[in-house]
Amino acid sequence: MKSQKRLVTYFIIIFIPFLVFSCEKRTSEDRCDYDGVRIQPLYAVYFSLKDGSEKQFCSMVCATMSFSKLKDRIEEVIVTDEASGTKIAASEAFFVESEMVNVPHVKNRIHIFAKKEDALKHLQKFKGRWVENPFYYSVK
C-alpha cells in the first residue's frame, strides 16, 4: 500500500513538467508548413488559400507534395525568383530543372526565375531543361 502511494506521488511529480511542456505553444513563423524545416526565403513557395490564410513551403518539392492535398482550397500560388529574391505569381515564372540542388534535404533541383534570360543562363550553366509550371493546370 505504501509503495503504491509512493508510485502515485512519483507519477504526479513527474507529470507536472510534462503538462508544462505539453501546453507550450510552438511557433511556426519561418517554418515550412509541410515538414517544419526553417525556410530560406530565396526558395520559398506560398499558397494563398480561399479562406484568406497562407501556407508557406521551404521548396518546390514540399509545395508540390502539399499541392495535391490542398488544390481545392488554393486561390493563388506565389513563388520566389532565385535571381532577385522577389515574390512573383507562379503563372508568370520560368521553371528549370538542373543538376544544381538548392534545398538539400529534399534534393530540390527545380529552380524558379522571373526573367527568361536568368533562367536560360542557369539552364546553360548547370545542364538544365525547361519544366512546366507544376501548378499551372490546376490553379487559375
Binding site: I14, S22, D35, H105
Partner: protein, 333 residues
C-alpha cells in the same frame, strides 16, 4: 568520421563494452560448463568467487548498454548539422542505411534482453542458494555475443559516417503515398483509415492496461495469462507505432502531411518521454513473462509472485503515463 563529445563517448563505450563482452561471454560459458559439477570445496569457492566477479563486471557493462540505446539517438541527433541534406535523425540514418537500420532493430532487442536478464539476476540474488546461476551464466554468454555485435556496429557506424555526405531527408521517403504505414491500415479500414486506427489503438491500449490491472488486483500470474499479456503488448506496440506515424505525430507537430517520428522528437521534445514511457511499459510486460519463464525454479517459487507484481505494477504505471501524455497532447494541440 564526425567527432564530437557524443560520438567519442559512443566509440569509447563501444570499445570498452566489446572487450568486456568478449571476456565476459567466454568466462560465463566456461563457468556455465563447470557450474554444478561435483568438485572439492576449495574449487567450488574459487568457482563462486570467479562467477561473482564476472557477474559484477557484466552487470555494469549491461547497465551501460541500456543507456546506449538513447545515447545512440542522441549521437545521431548531434551530427545532423554535419550531414548535408539532413534535417532530422532520418537524414543521418541515410548515410549508412543498412547498418543503421540493423542497429535500430538490434538495440531494442538488446534492451529487452538485458532488462530481462537483470531482473533474473536480481531475483536470483534474493535467494540463498542461487538456483538460477546456471541459467544466468548461459543467458549471459548469449547476451554477450549480442552486446559484442551491437558495440562493433556502433563503432563501425560512427567511423564510417563521413561529414561531406549528401542525403535526402524524411520528406521524400516517409511522406510518399505508397508508404507501408499508410497502405496497410488503408487496406483494412479504407481511405478514411485515420480515425479507426486511432480508435483501435486506444481500445487495445486500454484493454492491455485493464488486463494488467485485473492480474494485479486478483494476483493471477499463470503462464497462459502472462503469454497472452506478452503477445497483446506486442500487438499494442505495432498499433502504437502505426498510429503514431499516421495520426498522432502529424497532429502533435501541427504538420498534417508529415509522418516522420524523428521530426516529432525534434519538434516536440517531450514526445521522447512519451515514447520512453511506452517502451518501458511494453518491455515490462515482456519482462514479466521472461522472469516467469526463466525464473521459476525451486527456491524462487515464493519470491516470484512478489517480483511479478512489482514488474506488472511498473508496466501499468508506464503505460498509463504514456497514455495520459498522449491524451494531454491531443487535447492541447
Amino acid at each position: 568520421m564526425i567527432l564530437n563529445a557524443l560520438s567519442i563517448t559512443m566509440i569509447f563505450i563501444g570499445a570498452l563494452s566489446a572487450l568486456l563482452a568478449i571476456w565476459g561471454g567466454i568466462s560465463s560459458l566456461i563457468l556455465y560448463r563447470k557450474w554444478g559439477r561435483p568438485s572439492r570445496p576449495e574449487e567450488k569457492t574459487s568457482l563462486e568467487d570467479r562467477s561473482y566477479l564476472v557477474l559484477l563486471i557484466m552487470v555494469i557493462v549491461l547497465l551501460v548498454r541500456l543507456i546506449n540505446w538513447p545515447l545512440f539517438y542522441a549521437t545521431l541527433q548531434s551530427i545532423i548539422s554535419d550531414i548535408e541534406g539532413a534535417m532530422c535523425i532520418f537524414g543521418v540514418t541515410q548515410v549508412k542505411p543498412g547498418l543503421t537500420r540493423f542497429l535500430e532493430l538490434l538495440k531494442p532487442v538488446n534492451f529487452f534482453l538485458i532488462g530481462g536478464w537483470l531482473i533474473l539476476h536480481i531475483l536470483d540474488r534474493a535467494t540463498k542458494t542461487s538456483p538460477l546461476m546456471k541459467r544466468k551464466l548461459l543467458l549471459l554468454s548469449v547476451l554477450s555475443l549480442l552486446v559484442l555485435i551491437d558495440s562493433f556496429g556502433d563503432i563501425l557506424l560512427i567511423l564510417r559516417i563521413a561529414p561531406e555526405s549528401l542525403v535526402s531527408c524524411c520528406t521524400t521517403i516517409t511522406d510518399i503515398l505508397n508508404r507501408p504505414t499508410r497502405t496497410t491500415p488503408e487496406s483494412i479500414f479504407g481511405p478514411e483509415y485515420a480515425r479507426p486506427l486511432q480508435g483501435l489503438f486506444f481500445i487495445t491500449h486500454l484493454a492491455l492496461m485493464g488486463l494488467i490491472g485485473v492480474s494485479l488486483k486478483f494476483k493471477i500470474f499463470h503462464r497462459p495469462i502472462l503469454v497472452l499479456l506478452f503477445l497483446f503488448s506486442f500487438l499494442n506496440a505495432i498499433l502504437f507505432l502505426l498510429s503514431q506515424i499516421e495520426v498522432f505525430a502529424p497532429a502533435m507537430m501541427h504538420l498534417p502531411f508529415h509522418h516522420c517520428l524523428y521530426c516529432l522528437w525534434q519538434y516536440v521534445p517531450d514526445s521522447i518521454l512519451l515514447f520512453a514511457f511506452f517502451s518501458l511499459g511494453t518491455f515490462s510486460v515482456g519482462w514479466g513473462f521472461t522472469t516467469d519463464l526463466f525464473g521459476r525454479h525451486g527456491e524462487t517459487a515464493d519470491l516470484l509472485p512478489i517480483y511479478l507484481r512489482k514488474i506488472y505494477s511498473f508496466a501499468f504505471f508506464f503505460l498509463s503515463a504514456s497514455l495520459i501524455m498522449l491524451v494531454i497532447h491531443l487535447l492541447v494541440d
